[in-house]
């Protein structure tokens, strides 16, 4: 009885989460431009989407900014973690406190703050200001994912490598980096998704004439919803589904391998 109630509850929540998305997916194949009348199957909104220069430009911007911002954040963040390991606990926690600000602060405040900063120093807003801002809010996530990997154990492995005759560079490349790698990659991926997903900070730090997917959606929705946005929703959903599935399957395999090992 109790199990049943739980299942029904999960089902209701799932419907709440997915029915709106499902509606968009169905409407993206609708021949007519209506939100409630089905006019037959069509791919024309996808066609319109792919032929939109604005949208293609926004997609290129979104992903190039995300990759670059994630790269910058990963390098700066990883170095920061290594540097912090040499500092006194007090200094470390002070730095981590500052590091938390962009994560805890409301995006609108972060966005406005960065915008005012660019205005004050006289940098014209555009691609570079978006990139700088994205790296700013990504760095904290890299630090959070890499930091747990730098501990006494990493220090010991590094010392063991030196003890066995390795140079500092060799020990770093062959021992420390592989140890940090899972944290570094997850920091990178987290940064990448945060950057792709961001709207509010981009909205305040972009200049006129440059769009990411988010800002373009916002300006289009304000004018009036076009079904090509439904097509975009479908694509975004399918891509997200595919990426998450791949990540999950890989993790599953690793887990199973680990379980098998433990059984040995």
């Amino acid at each position: 009885m109790k199990k049943r109630a739980g299942k029904i509850y999960v089902l209701i929540v799932m419907l709440f989460l997915y029915l709106p998305i499902l509606t968009l997916i169905v409407l993206s194949f609708n021949e007519v431009k209506s939100m409630s009348v089905w006019g037959g199957f069509s791919l024309k909104w996808y066609d319109e989407l792919f032929h939109s220069r604005l949208m293609m430009g926004a997609i290129v911007n979104t992903f190039s900014i995300a990759i670059l911002a994630a790269l910058i954040a990963t390098v700066v963040g990883t170095l920061a973690v290594l540097g912090m390991a040499a500092m006194k606990p007090r200094t470390q926690s002070a730095l981590l406190g500052f590091n938390n600000i962009p994560m805890l602060n409301a995006d609108i405040v972060t966005g406005i703050a960065l915008m005012l900063f660019f205005l004050m120093v006289g940098v014209p807003r555009g691609y570079m200001t978006i990139l700088f801002s994205h790296a700013t809010f990504c760095i904290p996530y890299v630090i959070l994912s890499v930091r747990p990997r730098v501990n006494r154990n990493t220090d010991r492995l590094y010392e063991a490598a030196l003890d066995l005759g390795a140079s500092e560079r060799y020990a770093f490349r062959r021992i420390v980096l592989p140890e940090l790698w899972p944290g570094i990659t997850s920091g990178f991926l987290l940064s990448f998704t945060m950057s792709v997903d961001d709207f509010i900070i981009t909205y305040f730090t972009r200049g006129a004439g440059i769009n990411t997917i988010s800002t373009l959606i916002y300006s289009e929705v304000k004018i009036g919803i076009r079904p090509s946005l439904f097509a975009l929703s479908t694509i975004v959903f399918v891509v997200a589904l595919a990426v998450l599935l791949v990540i999950n399957v890989r993790k599953d395999k690793e887990d199973r391998a680990d379980n098998a090992l433990q059984a040995l």
Partner: protein, 271 residues
């Protein structure tokens, strides 16, 4: 030691240029008048009746959305904890997936559903009832907030709830506690850190949003986020916008401090 302190220099520079100086510039503009002198006017402008009304409505809607999210999320987290699909990650996967979809598109979905010519009204009129005006109401905004932020409430609560040692619960039953006591004395206190970070992750974006209110409120309902956004984008009054932002930050910080009193671990498990 692998580490050299100097590795942190780029990061420290970045914090200064990307976080501290920008925040300082909000403070600078917030206390400066248009002619360049020092003033409290921009901050005190929050007490103008239209601003106060917007702030009040923002707080009200944010609290309502947060409470609804909490009410939906806690049982969900408990079901996930007990379900074998929860542990294998399928259900978690299903909850994370919508988070990966751009939240503007997700909000737009509700516009499509609630619109006068939208899906729900089409269903209503199909059964012969009059069409309802659902868009541009506070209710629509709350719905949008709950929809957008619900996963951010479920996941942290699930994270703490799933780590509660089954033995603790068994021990409580063993010591004579009933189901209600087990929940109120064991499970709930132990899930406080997750609840606190869930509330933080829902309440602050709900309090400060201008997107959801713009899309589902049709520009007719002004939250404090909308007022601030308009000062920057339409009225180009950065001074007033900054002043109001400062006041809003006070509310953010205050709500975090209040929440932290409930959670000794502080912000450690926000992520």
């Amino acid at each position: 030691m692998i580490a050299k302190k100097s590795y942190s220099i780029p990061f420290i520079i970045w914090i200064i240029a990307g976080t501290l100086v920008p925040l300082a510039s909000i403070a600078y503009y917030g206390f400066t008048s248009r002619d360049g002198g020092f003033t409290f006017a921009n901050v005190l402008a929050m007490f103008r009746s239209d601003h106060l009304q917007a702030l009040g409505l923002s707080l009200l809607l944010a609290v309502i959305s947060t409470v609804i999210c909490l009410i939906i999320a806690f049982p969900m987290a408990m079901v996930l904890r007990e379900s074998k699909y929860g542990k294998q990650g399928f259900l978690i996967f299903v909850i994370i997936l919508p988070m990966w979809m751009n939240f503007l598109l997700r909000t737009m979905a509700w516009q499509v559903l609630l619109e006068r010519q939208g899906v729900i009204n089409a269903l209503i009129s199909a059964v012969g009832l009059p069409r309802q005006e659902m868009m541009n109401t506070p209710g629509a905004i709350v719905l949008g907030m709950v929809y957008d932020f619900l996963p951010f409430m479920i996941l942290p609560i699930y994270n703490t709830v799933s780590k509660i040692d089954e033995h603790l619960i068994e021990a409580a039953y063993d010591l004579g506690a009933g189901k209600a006591k087990v929940y109120s004395k064991i499970i709930f206190p132990l899930s406080v850190p997750g609840i606190v970070s869930g509330i933080t992750m829902v309440f602050i974006p709900a309090l400060t949003t201008f997107v959801i209110s713009n899309m589902l409120g049709g520009g007719k309902i002004n939250l404090i986020g909308n007022i601030i956004e308009q000062e920057f984008t339409i009225n180009s009054n950065w001074y007033l916008g900054s002043g109001l932002s400062l006041v809003m930050m006070v509310f953010i910080i205050a709500s975090m401090l209040i929440l932290q009193r409930f959670d000794k671990t502080g912000g450690a498990n926000l992520i």
